[in-house]
Amino acid sequence: MRKLAIFSLLAFRAISGIDSYASSAPAPERIQRGEELQVSSAEVGRYGGTLVVGQRAEPKTLNPVTATDGPSREVIGRMMADLVHINRVTQQTEPALASSWKLSTDGRSFTVKLRQGVRFSDGYPFSADDVVFSFRVYLDEKVHSPNRDLLTIGGKPISAVKIDDHTVRFDMSQPYAAAERIFDSVAILPQHLLLKSYEQGSFAQALTLNTAPDTIAGLGPFRLKQYLPGQRLVLERNPFYWKADRDGHRLPYLDEIAFLFVGNEDAQILRFQSGETSVISRFSPDNYPAMAREQQNRGYDLVDLGPSLEYNFLFFNLNELPPDKFQQISREQPWFRDLRFRQAISLAIDRRSIVKLAFGGRGVPIWGNVTPGNKLWINRELPHPERSIPQAKDLLRSAGFSWDEKGKLLDLERKPVEFTIITSSSNAQRVKMATLIADDLAQLGMSVHVVPLEFRAVMDRVFQSNDYDACVLGLGGGDADPNGDMNVWMSNGSTHLWNMHETKPATPWEAELDALLNRQLVTLEYKKRKRIYDEAQALIANNLPFIFLASPNVLVGATKQVANFRPAPLEPYVLWNADELYLRQQGVATAK
């Protein structure tokens, strides 16, 4: 019996020793004459090894045109390449498949020079036809690509015209600021593989997870090797990748990247701590202390990248509602519409406590829609009023509110001020924020109830039924450029949360905001544009459609094995330079 136990333990040890495994990834192809390689400025590394990444959810598709969920985009991003890429660290654009580009003087056309000698991961040569085909697909209404909206400028989609085999011109109906940024993450598709399914009208069903690896090709540093449903997806080196290091070695260094689908953040952390994965991408701040404690024993490094682009906020239901149907809300809306009321609330909220208790101190309080994480666009002049209950009370008093003998706040009709805050129950931090806010506002005599709801129930109330008083949500994380958030701030935007059905600006300041945003959109010079956007930020901060709360820091980690690790506060936080990552030792990058 005992012998058996020992034996089985030994056997377990034996099989867990996967270090001895040598991967079957293809060797990088020799660099050919005339191949216009991009040279990476990163430290020169060594070939080999597998990077293991834990993903909270399974990717849903490999189709770059239809993918909307984070995990899918994280995987697709490694398999595909774009024309112009945003460097996640500098937040500036840099050449990718396009070796250079030029904006015409009228700002309406954008000419792109493509890299020479580039091949897809199946060895098929890449040309301007692929680019034109890709944009045809993205812009086709029947394909329903979410990217189409980004590529639509001034209500008209941009058009791609082939000039020669390595030149493409994009035409826009109006000048567009930061035009090159829209090309980031727009993956160029292999026309030779996808033309048929596109013409048959079955493009959405192409490139699913069940697609055979040899029928899928991209221009990214890696290509599909294996997908095990519910378990993992393995990418292997693209031997034809168009980047090389300073010593002329073709990238990427890694043989393989394995994405393990672990289900949730807890599992992600467990796997990372137990050494089963090599990097951890963005974990929530409350996990930081426990992770940091184990840093030394387990051989990994955690990196706090500072504030993210995510801004969390409280907003009130300012929709025009039929009063007979929403009696309760209609009674409350006069308060919500009163700026002094919103200002009082903003003053009463203890943002430092939110940062401390919801983010374990790893975050920053915010008073505007651009976080300190967005180095290029933040308006540093915005005032940061300190929390003050007396000031808040003064504001309320001036707005006609009063208090009864028990300290309850009464409105003009001497009815108690009572409302609910909904938030998504799956986000513990936001539930915590809402609960803290409720406690803060109790000091003003308001009786505030927190109702955590399932995510889609929250969405339904905010977007469809408008049946809510106030809500805590968070946005951001995609692009640092102001254009990414246009739909939130434009009065006719589709994510204009506080008042969904506006067709024209409901208030003068919203009209002003619309005008400012439209102006920055066509302003091509950064400094001018920044000045306009600063003004917009101030306008938002002064009128408080959202009461901004806090922004969490981006926290990531990697085992000490992983080199060239340069995480960034923009998605995908750690894998954006996967082509440059390498492992200091052979084998699977795990902590020992």
């Binding site: 996990n287 426990a290 940091a292 374990g360 909904i422 129950s425 409720a438 109830h449 399932e454 129930a457």
Partner: protein, 339 residues
């Protein structure tokens, strides 16, 4: 005699737990929703008997705790001044069994992420959770007994319909219905109404399994000769069911009851997620448990497991009590087995 003493002891433990929960306001040192933001995730406060000078005090005292700079939430005791525990002290919100001066804190089971006293929340939360669980258990058993009893006793088409519907109930994705219920409610629901609602929802969902078990017992019970004897002197079917058949299911019912109560307390955590549970900041064991379900909480703040320990302990007393009662009852009803 020995048996009686055992039952007595268990019943006393049972009473003690429920007394503490019932008079939470007296036993709890703090209000359950009072946030001590400077003391989030504080460890259970140490009670001291010996001060820095080595002097022994009969009345326990505590040292104030001071946040320590560094990662996460760490505190150290400040031994410069001790504060004795006051018994039966009067505060603005009534008399409390235990209290300390406001310069120090008395967190017997530590605090949660908002700096709320877990011990107080446990007592207040137990009130609502146990009540909801018990009412829900009662309800689901009531429906279960009725459905199972009728199905087993009358058989035939009634049986088929009831049993098929129980299979239906077991198979349906209830989450959607719960979401729909949540959608049709006003956003803010008072805890008392939530309680009723919770019990109703859980009860309505939980009847299928007890019903199937009870049906099994009834099937064999109704075949017993004394049932047909009673039928022979003109008893109605309802009388038979009530007087002879259902009493035989008591064993199954008690066994089910004690398994369902802890399950239902835990189920509230799931319902909280759907927005149907007891909302913050009102405590319940269910919403306290859901905080504990995060891995880091488990590994870093072990005292957050208090609701789990309490739940297991309370269920254990239920189990043991039910077992003891059952054994006592088994003498009268010898020869009957139960599940």
């Amino acid at each position: 005699m020995l048996m009686h003493r055992k039952i007595f002891a268990i019943a006393m433990a049972f009473a003690a737990v429920h007394c503490g929960i019932l008079f939470a306001g007296f036993f709890a040192p703090y209000m359950p929703s009072a946030q001590h933001r400077e003391h989030a995730y504080a460890r259970p406060t140490k009670l001291h008997f010996v001060d820095a000078q080595g002097q022994v005090h009969i009345r326990p005292f505590v040292y104030p705790s001071v946040p320590v700079e560094g990662e996460g939430f760490q505190y150290r005791e400040d031994p410069s001044s001790g504060y004795p525990i006051r018994f039966l002290s009067r505060k603005s919100d009534g008399i409390h069994l235990l209290a300390v001066d406001s310069q120090a804190d008395l967190f017997l089971f530590g605090t949660d992420g908002y700096g709320r006293d877990i011990f107080s929340r446990l007592l207040f939360g137990g009130r609502i959770s146990l009540l909801a669980a018990m009412v829900a258990t009662l309800l689901s058993l009531l429906i279960g007994v009725a459905a199972g009893g009728i199905a087993g006793h009358f058989g035939g088409a009634v049986d088929a319909v009831i049993m098929r519907s129980s299979e239906l109930v077991l198979a349906l994705p209830w989450i959607y219905l719960l979401l729909a219920i949540r959608g049709s409610l006003p956003l803010h629901v008072e805890p008392t109404r939530t309680l009723i609602l919770l019990s109703a929802v859980i009860g309505a969902m939980g009847w299928a399994r007890p019903a199937r078990l009870i049906r099994g017992v009834v099937l064999s019970a109704r075949e017993r000769p004394f049932v047909s004897a009673a039928r022979g002197f003109g008893a109605s079917e309802w009388y038979l069911l009530r007087r002879h058949v259902l009493p035989q299911t008591l064993g199954v019912i008690t066994a089910q009851a004690v398994t369902l109560i802890p399950q239902f307390v835990a189920a509230e955590a799931t319902l909280s997620f759907l927005g149907l549970g007891i909302g913050e900041p009102v405590p319940s064991w269910g919403n306290m448990l859901s905080a504990f379900q995060q891995f880091q909480t488990v590994s870093s703040y072990w005292w957050m497991a208090a609701p789990l320990v309490a739940l297991v302990a309370v269920s254990l007393t239920y189990f043991v009590l039910a077992d003891a009662l059952h054994q006592a009852g088994a003498r009268i009803n010898s020869g009957q087995s139960y599940a």
